[in-house]
Amino acid sequence: MDLKQTGASRLLPRRLAQGAAALSMLAMSVFASSAGAEVNSTGLAVTDTEVIVGQLHSATGTMAISETGSIQAERLAIEQINASGGILGRQIKVIQEDGASDWPTFAEKARKLLERDKVAAVFGCWTSASRKAVLPIFEKENGLLYYPTFYEGLEQSKNVIYTGQEATQQILAGLDWVAKEKGAKTFYLLGSDYIWPRTSMKIARKHIENVLGGQVVGEEYYPLGNTQFGSLTNKIKLKKPDVIFAAVVGGSNVAFYKQLKAAGITSDKQTLLTLSVTEDELLGIGGENMAGFYASMKYFQSLDNPNNSEFVKAFKAKYGNDAVIGDVTQAAYLGPWLWKAAVEKAGSFDVDKVVAASAGLELDTAPEGYVKVHENQHLWSKTRIGQVQANGQFAVVYESDLIEPNPFPKGYQ
C-alpha cells in the first residue's frame, strides 16, 4: 500500500518511473499467487490462507460520531470469525479506509479497495449520500458492499446487501403500534432536511392518511445542524398532535430533545415516536432528557435473548464497559457473518456466486434474533418499539412479527 509516486516531485522523474515499475511488479506478484480457481475465479485478493476484505467508514469528520460503532462491530465480527477458523479455512485480513465524511473520498477509496486491493467484500458506508457515491463503482467493478444503516429504500443493487431496515419495515410497524396502543389520530411529522427523513415522512403520511385514517397536522424539516427549535415547540403546542413522529439527526437531535423537555413537552403529556435515536444518540442527548419517549428500531441493546447477551458481553469486553450498541452497530455486526454464511454456502468468494447464495440465507445467531436475506437483498426482520429509560437504554415494549423488506413499496411512493 505504500505508493512511491508523488504528485509533484517534478525534479525526480526517473525515480518516479522506477517506483511505478517496481509497484506494478509487486502488484502482479501479490495477485498471481494461486488460490483454487473454484473459490476465486475473478482475481480477488484471496490466497490459500488469507482473504482480504475492505472496511470503508468515516473515522474522521462529522460522520465519525455515527460510524465509530459500525467500525467496531465489524471488527469484532471479523475477529470472532477468524478465531473460529476463518472462512473456507482462510483468515480474514482487513484493509480499513477512511471516507473522512466526504463523499468523493468514499468513491475514491471504494475504487482503491476494488481496483487495487481486489477485496472480496467491503463492509461500509453509513449515510445514503456515501452509498450513492460508491454505488456506481461497486456496480462497475462488480464488488460487494454490506451496508448497515436503516435507510429510505428506493434502491436495490445486485452489489449491495442491506443489513439495516428499509423505511417501510421501520415505519409502518411503529405507526400501527401507536395507532393501536395510544389511539393516536393526529400526527406531527418532523425531520432533518434531507432525503431519508423526507422519504420516511412521505411513507408515514400515506400510511397515516390511507391506512390508519388519521390526520397529519404538521410536517416540518430543519436544516442539518439546526440548533434552535423554540418555534417548533410552540407550533407543536398549537397543533396538539397525539403523536410527534420525529427523524431529526446529528447535533440537531440533542438540541431538539433538550428544548422539547425544557418547553414542557415531556412523555407524561405527549407521545413521541422517533426513527433516529439509538443508544448511540442517547449518549449525546442524555437519557433523562427524553425518558418515556419511544423509538422504532429492529434492535435495542437491551433485547433479551441468548445471542444478544453474548454479543453485548463480547462487545463490552473488547471496547469497554461504557460502550453502547445501537441499531446500526448491530446491523454492521451482521455483515461479516452474513458474508461468511454466503461464501460457505456458495463454496466460493466470487461476488456473483456469493450474491446468488445470499438470497434465502438464514442466520439464527443474530443478536436481533432470526434474520433471513430476501431476494431483494434486504433482510426480513422484526421491528421493536423501545421506550427510553433515564439510564440511556431502551425498554422493549413491543415486538412485531417478521416483516418482509419492501424497498419499492407500492402505494407509498
Binding site: 473515522a59 474522521t60 462529522t62 465519525a64 460520531i65 465509530t68 432536511d193 416540518e220 424539516y221 430543519y222 436544516p223 445542524g225 439546526n226 440548533t227 434552535q228 423554540g230 418555534s231 417548533l232 415547540t233 410552540n234 407550533k235 403546542k237 398549537l238 397543533k239 447535533g251 440537531s252 437531535n253 440533542v254 438540541a255 433538550k258 428544548q259 423537555k261 425544557a262 418547553a263 414542557g264 448511540d280 444518540e281 449518549l283 449525546g284 442527548i285 442524555g286 433523562e288 432528557n289
Partner: protein, 306 residues
C-alpha cells in the same frame, strides 16, 4: 381546530419568549467575537471551537462532580461556567501569543490561520473526548419549565441562557466603557501608535482582549450545553450565524451587535413559525445579506471624517 383565545395568547407569549431566547443565543455567541473583531479587527474562525472548549469543560466538571461529589451536582454549573471562562480564556491567550500577534497587519491571513487552528482543535477534541457526542447531566433546576399559567410554559434553560447573556453583556459593557482597562482597549483600537506612545502596553492589551473574547465564548459554550449538543464539531454549527450577527451589527459597535442579534433572531423566529425551518433559515440569511449590500458598514457604524 379547537383553540381558545387564551390558548392563542399563550402561544403568542411563548413565541415572543422564543424570539428573545434565540436572540440571547445569538448574542451570547457573538459577544466574544464582537469583542475580538470589533476591537482588534481579527477574524477568529476558531471561535466555534472556543465555544466547544466551554462545553467540554462543563461536561468534565459535571462528570467529575457526579463521580466524586454527587451531592453537589445541582450546583456544579456555576463552577463549570467560571472554569470555562478561565480555560477558554487561557487557550485564547496562548493562541494570541503563538499565532495572532504575528499577523495583525494581515487581517485576511488571521482568518486563514485561525481556520487552521479550528481544524487542529476539532481533532484534539476528537482525540481526547472521542468522536461521539457527550452529554453533561443537567441539574434538575435547569430542566423543565416555569408555568405562570396553565397554558404557558417558559423553558428554564432558556431563562438561564438569558440570565447569563444579560450578566455577561452588562459585565462587558462595564469592562469596556467604565474600567481603565477598557479605556486602554478603546484607545488602542483608535490609534495604536498614539496609545503606545502614552505608555499603554498595546501588546498586552491585544492579548487580554483576545483572551477575554475567547473566555466569553467559553461561557457561551457552557451555557449552550443546556440547549444544544456537545461534540467535536458542535462549535462549527454556530460560526456562520455568529459572523453574520457581528458583521450585520457593524463591527465596531457592541450596541450594533445587540441590535443585529435581536433583529436576526426575531426575523428567524417569526419566519420559522409561519414557514418551514429550512426556508426560514434561507430567508433570514438572504435578508441579512441583502441589507448588508445596501449598508455595507452594517447597521450601526459611526460616520467619521477620515
Amino acid at each position: 381546530m379547537d383553540l381558545s383565545l387564551s390558548d392563542f395568547g399563550a402561544i403568542a407569549i411563548m413565541q415572543g419568549f422564543n424570539g428573545l431566547s434565540v436572540f440571547c443565543v445569538l448574542l451570547l455567541m457573538a459577544l466574544g467575537l464582537a469583542i475580538i473583531f470589533g476591537q482588534m479587527g481579527v477574524i477568529n474562525m476558531a471561535h466555534g471551537e472556543f465555544l466547544t472548549v466551554g462545553a467540554y469543560t462543563t461536561f468534565l466538571v459535571s462528570s467529575l462532580t457526579l463521580r466524586f461529589l454527587p451531592e453537589l451536582q445541582p450546583y456544579y454549573f456555576f463552577v463549570a461556567i467560571v472554569l470555562s471562562f478561565l480555560i477558554a480564556g487561557a487557550l485564547g491567550w496562548l493562541a494570541e501569543w503563538a499565532l495572532i500577534s504575528k499577523l495583525y497587519h494581515r487581517p485576511l491571513d488571521t482568518l486563514l490561520a485561525t481556520w487552521g487552528l479550528s481544524l487542529v482543535m476539532q481533532q484534539a477534541f476528537r482525540s481526547i473526548f472521542g468522536a461521539r457526542e457527550v452529554s453533561a447531566s443537567m441539574p434538575d433546576w435547569l430542566m423543565g419549565s416555569w408555568m405562570p399559567t396553565d397554558t404557558i410554559d417558559i423553558p428554564l434553560n432558556g431563562l438561564f441562557v438569558m440570565a447569563v447573556t444579560l450578566l455577561l453583556t452588562v459585565a462587558i459593557f462595564v469592562l469596556l466603557y467604565r474600567s481603565r482597562w477598557g479605556l486602554q482597549v478603546r484607545a488602542t483600537v483608535q490609534n495604536r501608535v498614539m496609545a503606545r506612545s502614552v505608555g499603554i502596553n498595546t501588546k498586552k492589551v491585544d492579548r487580554m482582549t483576545f483572551a477575554l473574547g475567547c473566555g466569553v465564548a467559553g461561557v457561551a459554550g457552557a451555557a449552550f450545553t443546556t440547549i444544544g449538543s456537545t461534540g467535536p464539531t458542535s462549535g462549527s454549527l454556530y460560526i456562520v450565524d455568529t459572523f453574520l450577527v457581528v458583521v450585520f451589527g457593524g463591527a465596531a459597535s457592541l450596541f450594533g451587535t445587540i441590535a443585529s442579534a435581536f433583529s436576526i433572531a426575531q426575523t428567524q423566529s417569526m419566519a420559522e413559525f409561519f414557514i418551514s425551518g429550512s426556508m426560514a433559515k434561507v430567508l433570514t440569511l438572504s435578508a441579512v445579506i441583502l441589507i448588508l449590500m445596501l449598508r455595507p458598514q452594517g447597521l450601526f457604524s459611526l460616520k467619521v471624517r477620515k
